[in-house]
Symmetry: C2
């Protein structure tokens, strides 16, 4: 049992990704929702897997990917999520610990198997996700260790947890403990369809509990039911202390009261698979925030991490983000400075 301070504790659905290079025609043929995360049951998972091409397996889970990314930057991260005591659970547990992330959640010894996400990667590198939650249904308030939450500068959670009432309760407990200890609470909206399912509840949450919000363009416009990004930006600005809004190749916008930064994306020679891009952006941003970087640099660290993960198949960094940061952040910042002095 560690008592060291944590930079971030991440809470989410503990999932093993099953990634397959697919044809564009698979999306229609299999009735998938392109680019989205769709929840599926065990029977549908079996059917889809049978129809999926050869695949590779890699530990995933949105918040777990973020924890792995923070550790890769050299940050101190913990993860809370539920696996079963099966082979996929063993893979998940091994990988998150091998990243250097504290992971003490007890695996379920009964009930459904470890969650998996069937990911169809189309030739444009877009990922279409189909998640069977399995053992994640066993994540409840009891899995939140108040002592651990109290040790973390930031408690970060994925919006996906909102899909189950027990997980939502776990989430609210964690947020409440964090604030009790004057820590910060952060959430990602995760997916536009997830926002559609829980809009009112998310809006209440953001007003009442969230210090740092992550969302992409589709999610933030869905949240406020507005047509364009800028209108959503004005809404969120009034409701949230810090919002980091990502816009794919257009970079990100960070807004914190009067402070606004527009941060470029990092160019990628060849985009292989966008799985985990948002998760790694959050990793870079939160690493920066818990290590005294300014908000613009936090966004730049997010861009650096996102660029790494979309260059290969799989949702977690394959090279040390700490080394990438040392190489790329100085160049990035000076490029930004140059462009900010241009007319």
């Amino acid at each position: 049992m560690s008592h060291a301070e944590l930079d971030v504790v991440c809470i989410g659905n503990a999932i093993v990704d099953i990634l397959s290079q697919s044809q564009e025609s698979d999306i229609g043929r299999l009735g998938l929702t392109r680019g989205a995360m769709t929840l599926i049951d065990a029977a549908r998972a079996q059917t889809l897997y049978q129809k999926m091409g050869p695949a590779v397996e890699a530990s995933g889970g949105s918040a777990a990917n973020t924890a792995a990314g923070i550790a890769s930057f050299g940050g101190v991260a913990a993860y809370v999520g539920k696996v079963r005591d099966d082979q996929f659970g063993g893979v998940f547990s091994h990988d998150i610990r091998a990243c250097g992330v504290e992971f003490t959640s007890v695996p379920a010894n009964a009930g459904p198997p470890t969650a998996r996400c069937l990911i169809f990667i189309t030739p444009d590198a877009q990922r279409t996700m189909n998640t069977y939650l399995g053992a994640c249904v066993n994540l409840t308030e009891d899995d939140i260790d108040s002592g651990q939450i109290a040790r973390a500068k930031v408690t970060y959670m994925e919006g996906y947890l909102w899909d189950r009432d027990e997980a939502k309760q776990a989430y609210l407990k964690a947020a409440s403990v964090a604030h009790e200890y004057n820590r910060q609470v952060s959430i990602t909206l995760s997916d536009a369809f997830c926002v559609e399912r829980h809009r009112d509840s998310f809006r209440q949450l953001i007003k009442g509990h969230v210090d740092i919000l992550f969302a992409n363009e589709a999610e933030i416009t869905a949240l406020y039911q507005v047509a364009d990004f800028d209108t959503a930006l004005q809404h969120v600005r009034a409701e949230c202390r810090i919002a980091a809004l990502t816009r794919s190749e257009h970079g990100s916008v960070i807004v914190a009261g009067d402070e606004v930064h527009v941060v470029d994306a990092v160019a990628v020679a060849q985009i292989a698979d966008t799985t985990g891009a948002g998760d790694q952006y959050a990793a870079g941003f939160l690493y920066g925030l818990t290590h005294g970087y300014g908000l613009a640099e936090c966004g730049q660290l997010g861009s650096i991490a996102a660029a790494e993960v979309i260059g290969h198949v799989g949702p977690r960094p394959e090279v040390s983000l700490s080394e990438l940061m040392a190489k790329q952040l100085p160049a990035y910042s000076s490029a930004q400075n140059v462009s900010s002095t241009a007319p």
Copy 2:
């Protein structure tokens, strides 16, 4: 139950690979044998896995990789190997079938779990393999379907099978059935350490049963206990109808009585992971051989397939080898012709 003719039936250890990008220092620290395939027991597998970094999982197994490669060329392949009815067994079975390979071996419903191979990839792209055979111990003569062997132009087997007596018996049964039906028998020597363990037995086998032999330089020199490649070449020439001898970046030498071809390797921009290179060479060669190509072109197809698989992490092709063949074989052959007319 299919009755169609098969190009190749491949028999081997059915294994899920666990691949991790490692440091050079891991090899010494963990007491691994660099570049080799080492058999490990369950306890050692657990210990090594605990000490291994984050990994990805991909279906492997030498002969299974070859079957997948033959299917990717558009050939008709079957695979025989033993998994357990567990999650890794499900992954293996899914992937081999999703490649279009006939796979009817019944999974074990008791006994040890599906085999896994812990692969440490060092920065030079070399792979160091540590195999826990698990459910493979259940592969016996009973798993050889004489009707299936009779349907295949070539029965191909991995030398790794020689490490267990029951598998060796299965192997000898398959070879005997194949010859009874005037089919060809092929083997790869698999690994120099495997050759050391079974030298006399391999030599008897090659003289008595093998039509097409695959070996790399280390394996063929170990087999004949000679210091250099050329001496080994003269030995094997007298003992085997066709031998395809691979030499990494130096390409391959194919010898069949008086016919000898020296075939170049295909250059690779960046070698990521050599796992599966020999398996894919065999896939290209056997695809060519069962589709009427000359021996030089068989070697070229081997080089094309090997180059594809070392360009990425994982032991099986990620793009269609059939398409690669259409693009690269004509250029390859004409380049060879040009160089053969040079002084």
